[in-house]
């Protein structure tokens, strides 16, 4: 008997355990030709999944009630009637939150556990790394000597953005929510400066100090009041990458915040929403670059690995409390 996690009810505001239900399935059916049976090994939990739990039009369709939730996962092929995959292969793809599942193989990519740890294919060599690299380069268009500010800087994407910023010759300031995270930014990830938004009494003043030449690129993972403060310091022709808005994902209505338009027009600045799937034609080049930096130890990453299939909902909920450092992954 195999377990699934389905969306029991749509969260209103912050998700709670009651929004999820564990269901037991019998997966004894025989495979058809072309199918394979997968055993889930690692499941990625990501803030953007919160959006799919709403019944609202977005860039990907909402999750259906009483159907399994899906996210980026790594699985092992345990049975195969598909000539492209052999028993023992490891694959990466969007999979159901199920301990075992049948797949047609569509959308699955084989990953090599000897080249990098399996979990890395959900992070630095997966959507996380691609989001950081392509968001920063495609919208941010960085020029050496410029100043980059990253919010959610100790998160999975943010910590990679900052490191790529340093490789590209930027001055990098990270914003995060604990002193421990700020220390990590500076000591582990090489950020030039860090601001703890929870202890800062004047975020605007602290930004002025940390970014004395103003802000050319803002990689925004959070939205909300942190992003308001950043606006006051953007330079002419600044580029703002809107990668996420974790600060507002759980709001029941889209909140009010300081109007961005006057800042954009005053500075001829650009603000653009970034969704990594729009840049699929650049994935292989980007992965190559990231793997090369990883091999040269120019880039490092942090994971928070939680143990056990049953912990997936709680791990997801913990994202909104900032309990993770770097990529949050559940090991099955």
């Amino acid at each position: 008997m195999e377990k699934s996690i389905v969306l029991k009810s749509r969260p209103v505001g912050k998700p709670t355990l009651s929004n999820f239900e564990f269901v037991t399935d019998n997966l004894n059916r025989n495979l058809n030709v072309g199918e394979l049976r997968l055993e889930t090994k690692y499941v990625s939990v990501d803030p953007y999944l919160r959006g799919r739990m709403n019944d609202a039009k977005s860039y990907i369709p909402p999750f259906e009630l009483n159907k399994p939730i899906q996210s980026g996962s790594i699985a092992k092929v345990i049975e195969s009637k598909n000539e492209n995959f052999a028993v023992g292969d490891y694959v990466s793809g969007m999979l159901d939150w199920k301990t075992k599942q049948v797949s047609s193989g569509t959308g699955l990519i084989k990953v090599n556990p000897n080249k990098a740890p399996l979990s890395a294919y959900l992070g630095i060599l997966g959507m996380t790394g691609l989001t950081a690299y392509l968001g920063l380069t495609q919208i941010g268009k960085p020029v050496a000597g410029e100043t980059l500010v990253v919010s959610g800087a100790a998160g999975a994407v943010g910590s990679v953005v900052g490191q790529i910023g340093k490789i590209l010759g930027l001055s990098v300031v990270g914003i995060a929510g604990t002193d421990e995270k700020i220390a990590l930014l500076k000591n582990k990830f090489g950020f030039d400066a860090g601001i703890n938004y929870n202890t800062s009494t004047d975020l605007k003043a602290d930004l002025a100090k940390a970014a004395p030449k103003g802000i050319d690129i803002y990689f925004d993972n959070v939205g909300g009041s942190i992003s308001e403060a950043v606006l006051y310091h953007i330079n002419k022709f600044a580029r703002i990458i809107i990668c996420g808005a974790i600060a507002v994902y759980n709001e029941k209505e889209i909140p009010k915040s300081t109007s961005v338009q006057p800042f954009l027009v005053k500075n001829s600045a650009l603000m653009q929403g970034f969704i990594v799937s729009n840049y699929a034609d650049k994935f292989s080049e980007a992965i190559k670059q990231l793997a090369s930096w990883l091999a040269q130890d120019k880039i490092t990453y942090t994971e928070t690995i939680v143990d056990g299939f049953d912990q997936i909902p709680q791990a997801f909920i913990d994202l909104f409390e900032g309990k993770n450092k770097g990529k949050m992954i559940v090991k099955i």
Copy 2:
């Protein structure tokens, strides 16, 4: 004796007549070599001047107290010690609000009163036309068949944006504040639909009706609540040109409005501040295109011409009441 209008005090909120002072000057001094004496003929009053009346860092420096205000103007050369300009020439440039003034000639462009009415060089063949054309094409990147929404649609820039949109094959919706303006949009400027934001009881619903395929390009002249409603209807990869924010120019603090970030990330949309002076390398090509459309009667324009130097401050104030149709110009 010649008259000047100086900035007496910085407006707090909406400008009033008391912010301006008329000063009498004696301009009898002889010209130095290279100088010319100008008699002002037409003065352009524009919403963006409000920003320069604040003592705040922006893309152009603020006006100084007790110094003449400057704006785009047309003048006649009445005396010249500059070999590039002859008595009787008409010139366009940023000039002081003065009935007569001495100039070095720097930044002045000769204009031909036989090719177009002099006032057109402040509008359709001047900054207004350039702003409409370059904002729409450089940031909006229109593709035939797409839907364009223009706010401040009956204004100087807006009415030209809509007409260019039609020439380029777009479906064009204008938002303006009176039924008379809406009629003008549809009957004179060829917009496909118009929405009167003052009589609309549900702007979001009216937009859904006027733009049934969603909004691909939003040319934003106003900001504020109108722009909030537009956000709910933008399509994937929408482009939003922030050209002005007349709704907030008079606010003492930058107001709060619905956060744009969730809309931008959901739709991979772009929002960019547009300042025409950043595109100076494209001016001559743009003017050529506009003059050609004008000659072919593919494009028309409206002016509100107010008579008399003394009326300049009131004409400027009236902009914020929407009293103008098209370009607001004072004839001296």
